[in-house]
Symmetry: C2
Subunit: 217 residues, 2 copies
Amino acid sequence: MAEDGARPSIEFWYEFASSYSYLSVMRIEGLASAAGVDVAWRPFLLGPVFMSLGWNDSPFNIYPPKGRYMWRDLERLCARYGMRLQRPSEFPRNALLAARVACQGQDQPWIGAFSRKVMAANFADDRDIGSADVIADLLDGFSLPASDLIAAAQRPAGKEALRHQTERACQLGLFGAPSFVVGGELFWGNDRLEDALEWACEAARGSVPRTGTSHLE
Amino acid sequence: MAEDGARPSIEFWYEFASSYSYLSVMRIEGLASAAGVDVAWRPFLLGPVFMSLGWNDSPFNIYPPKGRYMWRDLERLCARYGMRLQRPSEFPRNALLAARVACQGQDQPWIGAFSRKVMAANFADDRDIGSADVIADLLDGFSLPASDLIAAAQRPAGKEALRHQTERACQLGLFGAPSFVVGGELFWGNDRLEDALEWACEAARGSVPRTGTSHLE
């Protein structure tokens, strides 16, 4: 978390298979840049988080009324944001490889652009982001060394990096994506992106409480 | 739903035990009035809806990380809206009687004020809204015939009215509260109140599609 007077920052937790993460991945860099907030990209896997809550699938699949609503809500929000949307023919898609590659590159300057490419492939072009060929194709588009990056992501250290990151998501109390962490504050959902950025700015000015959850439970 | 050129209207589905319904019950009349939208108050019970999804308690109790987050999120939102908040010592509270009384009065001019009183009792004053004495006290505050209203709510017709309303909530695809229905469009959550009001206004002007969900599933 930013100390008083430091540049504001935010941890952005997202999952490539998550529909509402699509919205925030596309929006965050522009909004954060305009607000002067640094973004720490934190790709992770929702599957283990959902398993810890007793779900063996997306809640949007387990609970059909929630799923029907989500797709319609997403359609309305994409229309508002001017974002393309093509409902993926498979949901949720296997995002393991994409997340491992992103985890390797999360501090690299290409992380935002790569994440947007993956999201557009999944939610606008209905491509199988679980396929190494598709991920390689997306990386090639940036003139990045696709085969090296994919090989590194699949080595033990690459697998461990994502596993560790996902464990940290659980430790932080995350239960869905996208989520935003600003110091001790958790914000859940694309609807809270603007609030989280505002909180980061206020925290950097020292004008909000440092912590606020500990007294609750 | 409003026809083209008719006055815009919205169905507001809420439950007295629901934390996010508290926010919308307090906000909707002012916002809707400013937007020129008529509100049809639709108190219902979440319990049967949750049971149909396989939950025998509030998901905020079943899934502790969601619950911890919700209370903190609610605290932040109440601070923003300038609303009092005292975490109820029992959650969710039994809202059966309050919902039956509200169902009897849902087309009466006192429905908004009564609903706000019940919500404030539960979420700001930590009073047991499951108690007939508390409900009678709140009704007395409006010089309404408390004992007659409570008796009517508990007669077979009063019970049936709420049961029927809750069944309709399920038929509409509701899975949580608050929810807003504008024609064939469902909006879920306090975060969508402003969107739903805007949709109602546009629908009344004939500038949005009449239906939008049928092709999705």
